[in-house]
Symmetry: C2
Subunit: 151 residues, 2 copies
């Protein structure tokens, strides 16, 4: 199986397959006499695992751990669960950070006329945080931030 076929079958681009090989995430592929890489169905199986883990946002280093556990038939599921839970924590942290940004911006957008005039609370807040937004808007902002944390 050529690298292109393996790419199509696994959903991992040929470029990334080579990259994963150089970084040691996957073993070096067999070569045919032509120099072409040759992939088995088992290799594709591996690549699909990687693809799926990437889709869940795992970093390559974490996938390396997961692959190790996958291959280890005497693994403890607790180890897998720990990795997954840590990743969920990181996702949650990033989500919270972005929700805070979004919430701030939505408040500012709600205060901006969005017309031909130059007055703009968005720019005013960038210039001096908190001054441009009226107190009631700030209250809404705080409430929304709390709601986001609950959601």
């Amino acid at each position: 199986m050529n690298i292109g076929e393996a790419a199509k079958a696994s959903g991992v681009s040929a470029k990334m397959i080579r990259y994963y090989e150089t970084t040691g995430l996957i073993p070096k592929a067999e070569r045919r006499t032509s120099g072409y890489r040759d992939y088995s169905p088992a290799d594709v199986h591996n690549l699909r695992f990687i693809r799926r883990a990437r889709d869940m946002g795992f970093a390559v280093a974490e996938i390396q751990e997961l692959l190790g556990l996958w291959r280890d038939r005497s693994r403890h599921s607790a180890d897998v669960k720990r990795i997954a839970a840590a990743h969920v924590e990181e996702l949650s942290a990033r989500i919270a950070a972005m929700e805070e940004m979004r919430s701030t911006l939505q408040t500012l957008i709600g205060c901006c006329a969005g017309d031909d005039r130059p007055d703009c609370p968005i720019l005013a807040d960038l210039e001096e945080p908190g001054v441009a937004v009226r107190p009631d808007a700030q209250a809404r902002l705080r409430e929304r931030a709390i709601a986001n944390r609950r959601g």
Copy 2:
């Protein structure tokens, strides 16, 4: 004012101040005879604007636009609002993607014993999506995904 003082006063690291200069985001700083960069309070004001915009997740290219509008006293607030709204859209898309990852992972984690035994629905799902999770768990997954979209 030295670059280090400007960094402390603005919250932008000296490294990043130099970087912003090379990329044209800020004008080239004045130099003293020694070659040291020299910053005015107005420069620090600029840098704080940039810092705040970065904190809201704007990319440097977007900040360039925002700075242009900030300086343009005949700007239309609609232009600022458009940029901010586009950024909110992008934040929302990224948040949704990560919430989906998190939701999937939380479902799998909820199905994993997390003990000494090797059986692990997390690995099983990475190996073959959807097979390891019982139908009721998949239903919970869908509901949670919908709830996330509402949140």
